[in-house]
């Protein structure tokens, strides 16, 4: 009896959150799902001709979507592992220095509190070729005797490089913050025990440090995947709003364009693309979870 009353109470406490989430998250999701199957939807008259997979077929044959899919995948595959590894290296480094530790931590956290568009401007200075300068990156390339490359309007690989560079740079502060605090919370006794037993630094890192902070690494990988799949504003900050023309569109950018862009007014295609993205993220997250069962130690 008491249990039942307790259960009821539990649901009661959850009610506001459930209502809120239901209204703003679940309902739109279901709605998008339904939209994605309505063929020939007209937003003005709110009518459609039939139900089927045409929207998906259209999106999957749209070269812009395929480009966006490719871009997003490249972005994910490059930036998630790379940013996590770099953040780990920086954090371990930060954790092992004592003087000025606080200062370095602040420096590494700066990008996090800096406006995306302002940062975009800085990247322009670094990479953009103008009439007056080739940009800082090209100056460095010139030292190695390599010709100037237009990173903003030039070849595909150069633009992709800038986008990945930017993404890694932008997610770094958060990851470093999380990892430094995870490292700092590992009990010093483990390291002392390892030291007395003559454990090599590499083995300490692999056998003690990594497992100890594995839940945090896992958290960063999962959120990193999701964040990278949802990338959009970074690309806009670097390459402007016409991402399709720049070949730098992402899936979220494609969805946005379908809804509001020049070619906008196609909520059905947008919905289908969004559902495809959802399916991809969902699958990747499931794979992540199952891998983590073996390698993450809580």
């Amino acid at each position: 009896m008491a249990n039942k009353a307790n259960n009821l109470k539990g649901w009661l406490y959850l009610l506001p959150a459930i209502l809120f989430l239901g209204f703003f998250m679940v309902y739109p999701l279901v709605d998008v799902f339904i939209y994605s199957f309505e063929e020939g939807y007209n937003s003005a008259s709110q009518t459609f001709f039939g139900v089927g997979l045409y929207n998906y077929s259209y999106v999957l044959h749209d070269p812009y979507f395929l480009q966006a899919l490719k871009n997003t995948f490249i972005l994910v595959v490059i930036t998630v592992p790379l940013s996590t590894v770099i953040a780990l290296l920086i954090s371990v480094g930060l954790n092992s220095i004592t003087p000025l530790k606080k200062l370095y931590q602040t420096v590494y956290f700066l990008p996090y509190v800096t406006n995306t568009l302002a940062v975009g401007l800085v990247f322009m200075i670094l990479f953009k070729k103008t009439a007056y300068t080739d940009g800082l990156a090209n100056l460095i390339l010139a030292w190695f005797g390599k010709g100037p490359v237009d990173f903003i309007d030039g070849p595909y690989w150069a633009k992709m490089f800038v986008l990945c560079f930017y993404t890694i740079w932008a997610v770094m502060p958060f990851k470093v913050l999380i990892l430094t605090s995870a490292l700092a919370s590992v009990n010093q006794d483990y390291y002392n025990a390892a030291k007395v037993d003559g454990t090599s630094p590499f083995r300490v890192f692999r056998k003690i440090t990594l497992p100890m902070i594995s839940p945090m690494i896992f958290y960063l990988v999962i959120t990193g995947f999701i964040g990278a799949f949802k990338a959009y504003s970074d690309a806009v900050a670097l390459f402007g709003t016409n991402l399709n023309a720049a070949e730098m569109n992402t899936i979220v950018g494609y969805v946005y364009d379908m809804l509001y862009g020049d070619s906008g007014g196609y909520p059905s295609y947008a919905s289908a693309a969004a559902i495809l993205l959802f399916a991809v993220v969902f699958t990747i997250t499931l794979i992540n979870l199952s891998i983590s069962k073996k390698n993450v130690h809580y």
Binding site: D189, A193, V196, G198, S200, S214, H297
Partner: protein, 370 residues
């Protein structure tokens, strides 16, 4: 392997730059730990026990002084080259590794010719696990075991590489009273079986007394007394040591010596031939009281605590400056009547200690032959 500490000192710099007072955690230690013995490092919290232990292990470097293992100067040797096994107060078992992996960890660190073969490792791990009787739990993770079991794994991990010296930092402080009793016997047994020179840190005097071959009593970074537990108990060098050892604790009074007799609050309670005249602190062990209707020592009875075979008579004394409740332990057969107001005791001379009022150092007097 005998361990020798020579003028060993560790100072920690002050955190507060203004006051500039540094903490002398270990102050000029000079003693030798004989080969194959178990010694108890004993003292109140913050007296520098862990610091002393970490100096021996090499985890911290001394400010000055030397450490020898046998005839080798190891003062500046890093911990991994000293051949010590260390058991931490927190056990520090790796939570993501099984018991077996934990015990094997130190062996897997070995390199080159020192590194045993796979089978040899397995054999030694099993041997260590047998020693501490956890061979049935080899596949558990530390989180799935009781505190006592974890502690035994920690000991197994420390002894598996056959250290020359085993160091234990308050290994029993996380255990409940029963398990503590049991585990300290276990530690004693393991130490006897392996013959490894062992240093055992504790702030529990009973623990140290019961299992050590030798105890070192410390206070504020300074060694007070070193000796066999019984000797230190029977013959403390100063008031601190006498108060630190023994349960119930020693009863302390202010007294006066005059003409070879000891006076407490006007009563002449004991002949103390050879003690110089002057004010003293008097320490009387609880078992130093003998109920005697004609005894010279009177106090007001406040209660009787039954402890089974013995009882402890609790009373008050007007001139008692240090302990509020005086406890005398006597055989239960001699229980005084509860209605009695005053009880009288005779004192056993060799259970009575005199200490200088200012120096708090022991003042000797001649006791009759036992």
């Amino acid at each position: 392997m005998k361990v020798v500490l020579q003028n060993l000192t560790k100072k920690f710099p002050s955190r507060n730059k203004k006051s500039g007072d540094e903490v002398i955690a270990v102050n000029n230690f000079n003693f030798e730990i004989p080969d194959g013995k178990l010694i108890g490092l004993l003292g109140p919290s913050g007296c520098g026990k862990s610091t002393a232990l970490n100096l021996i292990s090499g985890l911290i470097e001394p400010t000055s002084g030397k450490i020898f293992f046998g005839d080798d100067d190891v003062t500046h040797l890093p911990p991994e080259n000293r051949g010590v096994g260390l058991v931490f107060q927190s056990y520090a078992l790796y939570p993501h590794l099984t018991v077996k992996q934990n015990i094997m960890f130190p062996l897997q660190n070995l390199k080159g010719s020192e590194r045993p073969s796979r089978e040899e490792m397995e054999r030694r791990v099993l041997e260590a696990a047998r020693l501490v009787q956890i061979e049935a739990l080899m596949d558990r993770k530390p989180g799935e075991m009781s505190g006592g079991q974890q502690q035994r794994v920690a000991i197994a991990r420390a002894v598996v590489k056959m250290p020359k010296v085993l160091l234990l930092d308050e290994p029993l402080s996380n255990l409940d009273a029963r398990l503590r009793l049991q585990t300290r016997e276990e530690i004693r047994r393991i130490q006897r079986d392996t013959g490894i020179t062992t240093v055992f840190v504790t702030h529990d005097q009973e623990e140290a007394m019961s299992i050590s071959d030798m105890i070192v009593v410390m206070k504020d970074g300074v060694v007070q007394q070193i000796g066999r537990p019984q000797d230190v108990y029977d013959s403390p060098v100063n008031l601190f040591v006498s108060k630190f050892l023994g349960t119930p604790p020693i009863n302390v009074f202010e007294g006066k010596v005059g003409g070879g007799r000891l006076h407490i609050g006007g009563e002449a309670v004991l002949d103390v031939p050879g003690a110089p005249d002057g004010s003293v602190f008097v320490g009387i062990r609880p078992e130093g009281f003998v109920l005697d209707e004609n005894g010279p020592f009177t106090c007001q009875l406040t209660g009787v605590e039954v402890m089974g075979r013995d009882i402890s008579v609790v009373c008050r004394h007007a001139a008692n400056a240090q302990t509020a409740a005086i406890r005398a332990i006597i055989s239960a057969e001699n229980r005084p009547k509860d209605s009695a107001k005053d009880v009288r005791f005779a004192l056993k001379p060799y259970k009575v200690f005199l200490f200088g009022r200012d120096s708090e150092e022991r003042i000797e007097f001649q006791t009759p032959k036992r």
